[in-house]
Symmetry: C2
Subunit: 321 residues, 2 copies
């Protein structure tokens, strides 16, 4: 039974919405601890209660309150000092080998923003889902206008050796946004590394088209512990290519590129062949280009709203250029 | 002091979000009565408590519960029977002249959808904001690609005699979606009536690009009582025009059309010259076309999410074609 497009969106945005069932939402939150800083009025992420005993919390700079279910990093700012304390905690925990997720250590940090757009601290990429903080990425779809007026998309197939979502379909290029990297720089870099597209071409012709946002609960195919939270923002980009322009795999992340007609793309989406967060970027593209319409898609309004979830944590508010 | 783009979005989407301040959200909800049907698990809209004494509720088919703050239409289905009871209530109330909003009676009904996508009842257009039910509209922006690669938009100025938002700027064509009208048919009709664009041209070349959704609290410039709620979904469309193609006012709703460069559009938005729900459609266009970008707009992520609010009522889920 093929999935509906709403099924695909719900698989990615699968953390309960507060207005959907307020009682169940409140109950769900009680199975998490809020990650807080003393000088920030809102939580920065949610940590599953089951993870709390697995982390080596130094009482010198952490305050764990089991009654209010909060984990507060009490180390004073500025950001580098907090970043260092958090890194120390993660190193200690990794050494204890209590959490599978930390075996995928990347030596790359992601920024965590506060309500005024300032970076409050940075966190090792592999650990961001442990704390459930918002992370940011870029996704590029390259497309061709066919002679019949239709569209075709350059779809990547992930390498069989990838740790996560091996062999699944993907956008033309995509990647996480490390601290201090502007989205445009991110898409230029990923397009070069993954699809061998020249930086000057991308910079001149790529178009920013918005962002998708969702609140994902990690399953087994993401690797590491299940039940971890990933609230994410993916900046979306598109670029039209001529018939002679072809993306080529530029590193060992991509097995192959193939040009897919939009109907083929929809069929592959419905068979569940796309990586979940790439699938929602493709759906957003299909809506924006009038392939999925209010007349041919029953759940159009709910799909568009869920592709753009308003997250309950502070999000990036500073120009990153 | 010019407005920011986030200010513009917040003026339209100005009903409190549940995760922004859960306590204030709950307190706000206590100043409204939920509009319910006995066989529907979710409310269909919110009615301000101040409105309740102004409406002539027949106890034969209404149950008002002041403890649970619910207004339930107990008249049994099917939809036409409920529609008729609701219409009778509105006629009785209009005759009593207790509500200014009802003086704008349109003799046009809007559908109210249930959780399974069925139309539960229809409501007179002028009364939809009294009950705070979700309404639907279409918005079309026609644009021209300039020789320098930039974009220009065909912006309408509303007639000085319009009851609402007189003299303000507007999209190329827009209108509400009455019961039993598909979005594509709505945009074809409005483009013809308001902008004199031929139906066959629009049908062949217009592109569905998604929808914006927001939860608006009506102010004084909307006419009628203030504090009424308008959760709305606007299906967005765009159409590229050649240099010789020009929209012309087709009825007395539009004073004039003028081609505005995108920078002029942004400046007019920031001066507050656009009708609020047209302003958000223009912002969505500017994001989609890479004019507003993550690098030049500090509040990019929050803007994109708030342009696509997930409403807490059932939304249209049936193909309307």
């Amino acid at each position: 039974m093929p999935k509906t497009i709403l099924d695909i969106v719900k698989e990615c945005d699968n953390f309960i919405h507060p207005t959907e069932d307020p009682i169940k939402y409140t109950q769900t939150l009680q199975t998490y601890y809020a990650f807080r800083l003393p000088d920030c009025p809102t939580p920065l992420g949610y940590i599953p209660a089951s993870i709390i005993p697995q982390v080596i919390w130094s009482p010198e700079w952490w305050c764990i309150n089991h009654a209010s279910r909060t984990v507060t990093l009490t180390a004073p700012g500025p950001a580098p000092a907090r970043t260092q304390r958090l890194a120390q905690t993660l190193h200690d925990t990794r050494a204890a080998r209590s959490l599978a997720l930390l075996s995928g250590w990347r030596n790359e940090t992601f920024p965590v923003y506060g309500p005024r757009g300032d970076v409050l601290l940075e966190i090792e990429r592999a650990a961001s889902a442990l704390f459930g903080v918002v992370t940011y990425g870029v996704q590029l779809l390259c497309y061709v206008r066919c002679q019949d007026g239709g569209l075709a998309l350059w779809i990547a197939r992930r390498a069989a050796a990838k740790q996560t979502y091996a062999g699944m379909l993907d956008c033309t290029a995509a990647g996480g946004l490390a601290a201090r990297m502007a989205p445009m720089e991110g898409v230029v870099r990923e397009a070069g590394e993954e699809a061998s597209l020249a930086a000057e071409t991308v910079r001149a012709r790529v178009r920013a088209t918005g962002c998708v946002s969702y609140f994902h609960v990690r399953g087994a195919d993401a690797g590491g512990e299940t039940g971890l939270l990933q609230p994410e923002v993916e900046y979306t980009y598109e670029m039209e290519l001529g018939e002679e322009e072809e993306p080529r795999p530029g590193d060992d992340e991509v097995a192959e590129f193939r040009l897919w007609g939009v109907e083929e793309v929809v069929a592959a989406l419905r068979r569940g062949e796309f990586k979940p967060n790439s699938a929602v970027v493709v759906v957003d593209f299909l809506v924006r280009h009038g392939v999925v319409t209010p007349e041919n898609e029953r759940d159009y309004v709910e799909i568009v709203a869920r592709l753009h979830r308003r997250l309950e944590f502070p999000v990036c508010t500073a120009p990153m250029g």
